[in-house]
């Protein structure tokens, strides 16, 4: 019985050993290939870059580059893409045209529909880069780019969105914005930069439209984009956003207030939020009141000290410190309070003010 079991065990373990050895051999072979490839890249990349620089400087001889393409296609592509942040204007156009001359664009177009994610991503990176050049864009086709905005992979969507935001038509830019506010925060962070240049036009159209909708996630997305742009935008009725039933929207609207033109409605909404039961919202309102120097908020800021929250008291104190002389006077009164928390927060803010003044 035991001998039979031993035989079975040996048989199973033998099969298992074969599988493991096969896997190890595959890993070893891949490691060896990888090492060889890395060595080749180290050797080739400076030469490819030099050839690219020659080409960008005006040389029309593509023999070298075609030779490199035969040796290591991946390295040539990487070298071309590595130039994307360092060239502009005609040099960039020339580099994009090179992808047409070397038939790279056509291969990217085919790989764009690949089911292999890595291939699709690589192709997207290339296409997103050459979008800057009109002949390449024509070759790629607008439908392809628009479809890519609906790709299941977020990386592909972001790449294409960034390219369209930089080089697309107003309609495409709006489409990118709509995609961004439907997506997650990482996408918005990535797309906000390229869309910043169009903040004014977008604010007059799609941003206002999104803010006036009943769709809370879209409002949130639109406000996040506005906050990420960090530039003055012509938004109206932001006070309504500050009174929204969703806490997250109220918080973001408060962060957006300093970016829009000052208005009585906004100031009044900020002051209302200073007495909000939610300390985080009251803190954000206090910070905004200080930043916008809303002097009418001084009594309410002083009231924040009585909420019993140390962080809120410190934020209110910092806001008061930013509003001399009324704010400082209020701080001096609060510094004489019997409540140790109030006294300490006020004294801390006053100490900062005095240190800044050098007295």
């Amino acid at each position: 019985m035991t001998e039979a079991a031993l035989r079975v065990a040996i048989l199973l373990m033998g099969a298992y050993a074969l599988v493991i050895t096969g896997l190890f051999a595959a890993a070893l072979f891949r490691g060896w290939r990888w090492k060889r490839k890395t060595r080749l890249t180290v050797k080739l990349l400076p030469e490819i870059r030099a050839a690219l620089v020659d080409y960008l400087a005006g040389s029309d001889d593509l023999t070298q580059l075609r030779r490199f393409l035969k040796i290591s296609r991946r390295d040539v592509l990487n070298a071309i893409l590595s130039f994307q942040d360092s060239v502009a204007g005609t040099a960039r156009d020339r580099l994009c045209a090179l992808t047409l001359d070397l038939d790279l664009l056509e291969k990217w177009r085919r790989a764009f529909h690949s089911r292999d994610l890595a291939r699709r991503r690589a192709a997207t990176a290339g296409i997103a880069f050459v979008c800057a050049y009109e002949p390449c864009r024509r070759e790629v086709g607008e439908v392809l780019l628009a479809d890519a905005l609906e790709d299941p992979d977020p990386e592909v969507r972001v790449r294409v969105a960034q390219a369209l935001a930089q080089f697309g038509s107003p309609a495409e830019i709006e489409k990118v914005f709509r995609m961004a506010i439907r997506s997650n925060l990482v996408t918005r962070v990535s797309v906000a930069g390229p869309l910043r240049a169009h903040a004014l036009e977008l604010s007059r159209g799609v941003v206002t439209e999104a803010l006036q909708s009943d769709n809370a996630p879209q409002i949130l997305g639109a406000l996040e984009m506005v906050v990420a742009w960090e530039r003055a935008v012509p938004l109206v009725r932001l006070d309504q956003m500050m009174q929204h039933r969703e806490r997250a929207i109220r918080l973001l609207a408060l962060r957006a207030v300093p970016l829009v033109a000052s208005s009585r409605e906004n100031d009044s909404a900020v002051m209302q939020l200073l007495v909000d039961q939610d300390h985080e919202i009251a803190m954000a309102a206090a910070a905004v009141a200080g930043r916008l120097h809303i002097v009418a908020a001084v009594p309410l800021l002083a009231r924040c000290f009585r909420a019993g929250n140390a962080a809120l008291a410190r934020t209110a104190a910092a806001a008061l410190a930013a509003m001399p002389p009324q704010g400082w006077k209020a701080l001096e009164e609060l510094a004489a309070s019997e409540n140790p928390m109030v006294r300490s927060a006020a004294a801390e803010a006053l100490a900062h003010v005095r240190a800044a003044k050098g007295t």
Binding site: L6, P154, L185, V186, V189, A351
Partner: protein, 423 residues
């Protein structure tokens, strides 16, 4: 007597084969998870993340268990992390005047007006210091109060909505925070924490190779595979990001980071809400590899105590806890027992040679194959190859590992079961 010994040994062998097969299956699952993660991981866009106002601030908290120069070096590395808006909050638990002087000198600390107040229970704050250098470093000096209360004090003092924790054995790259934060931004409602750890480069030396193999098996199973089941267990080499509000809701730390993390899992499962703890193997955070036998012993013992902590955490699934007991406690116990019984039985003539060989196959043989499989799986999980020489060294280190070290490790695993430690 012969029949009894044979029956017992046969039962043990069956158990060992079955548990070995389960370990193998879990490692396969871990490999699949790692492959999926490697495929999905987006390109790095660090510059955009660095500049964006939408990226939340992070407070990296640390409560060093010793106040030596090594801890100061760790804090210096944490201060140097690349991130748009991050601060480091250090909680010093009952430092002596000499310790405090060393820290003050190194970081140019001065009295701060900052106050530490919050809802978490914490140790008595002696003073708060901040660096005069252009770095965001706050040092909370506490009366001796223990690890948990020190960590709570640091959370109370933290100003940011996201808390960062780096284990004492974590080797990390300066971009670690930038690589971790996207996981939280992708789905801030669902992802309550992010945990990053990966094997480090293996230093020279046979004990380092043994340690690397041990960690590789644990990484594929307890980190990668368990993350697939949303039961990721951080190691002392992990870096963790967690929303501050979840720490506050969970009532803060009670023993240490591991206990808190396991409790967080239990709470989230009990609440029935959809949640996820993201695993980030490519975030540039690596488990430091022990270099000597003593270091390796300490590491195995700490790891086992962490496992004991998980076993005794109520709220985690029963199958998970039972599995840990079977694999991490019962298996070394039965294996050690089987060695002794087989040796004595063979010498006394109670155990036939084929059965003794079967015992060896179920212990040493299976152990070798599992370690070798772990090395191959790791390679297949990644999309780039490794140095073939290094790979071969690690692969064949599985042979000496199971001829002596494995048996010693079994004894180490049995020793500290009654203790529960944290980092």
């Amino acid at each position: 007597m012969q029949a009894l010994v044979t029956a017992v040994l046969e039962a043990i062998v069956i158990f060992l084969f079955l548990s070995g097969a389960a370990c193998f299956a879990i490692m396969v699952q871990g490999t699949l998870v790692l492959r999926r993660l490697a495929r999905q991981s987006p390109r790095e866009d660090n510059l955009t993340l660095l500049k964006s106002r939408l990226v939340p601030a992070v407070s990296v908290i640390v409560a060093p268990q010793d106040l030596s120069a090594a801890s100061r070096a760790l804090v210096r590395l944490l201060v140097g992390l690349h991130f748009g808006d991050h601060e480091v909050v250090v909680a010093l638990d009952g430092p002596s005047d000499a310790d405090l002087a060393a820290w003050s000198e190194e970081f140019h600390l001065a009295m701060s007006l900052r106050r530490v107040a919050g809802e978490l229970p914490m140790g008595a704050v002696r003073t708060v210091l901040e660096s005069r250098d252009p770095i965001r470093l706050a040092v909370i000096v506490l009366e001796r109060s223990g690890l948990a209360l020190s960590l709570n004090a640091a959370v109370n003092a933290a100003n940011s909505p996201v808390i960062g924790l780096f284990g004492p054995e974590c080797e990390f790259e300066p971009e670690a925070l930038l690589r971790l934060i996207p996981y939280m931004l992708e789905d801030s409602q669902r992802v309550i924490a992010v945990c990053a750890v990966a094997p480090a480069e293996t230093p020279k030396g046979i004990f380092s190779q043994f340690a690397a193999l041990d960690f590789l098996r644990s990484w594929l199973s307890r980190q990668a595979a368990f993350s697939g089941w949303n039961l990721l267990m951080p190691t002392s080499g992990s870096a963790i990001l967690i929303a501050r509000e979840y720490i506050l809701k969970a009532g803060g730390f009670r023993a240490g980071v591991l206990e808190f993390f396991l409790r967080l899992h239990a709470r989230a499962r009990a609440s029935k809400r959809a949640y996820s703890v993201a695993f980030a193997p490519a975030a540039g955070c690596r488990q430091r590899t022990p270099r000597s036998l003593a270091e390796l012993h300490g590491w195995v013992a700490r790891d086992q105590r962490g496992t004991a902590r998980a076993v005794f955490t109520p709220g985690l699934p029963w199958w998970f806890r039972c599995g840990l007991v079977l694999v991490r406690f019962l298996r070394p116990l039965l294996e050690t027992f089987a060695y002794i019984l087989a040796a004595v039985g063979w010498w006394a003539g109670w155990v036939a040679t084929p059965l003794a060989l079967l015992v060896l196959l179920a212990t040493v043989g299976l152990g070798m194959f599992l370690s070798m499989a772990a090395v191959s799986f790791r390679e297949l999980a990644e999309f780039h190859g490794s140095d073939p020489v290094r790979l071969a060294k690690l692969f064949f280190a599985a042979i000496p590992e199971n001829l002596g070290f494995r048996q010693l490790r079994n004894l180490w695993l049995l020793a500290p079961w009654h203790k529960r430690v944290d980092w």
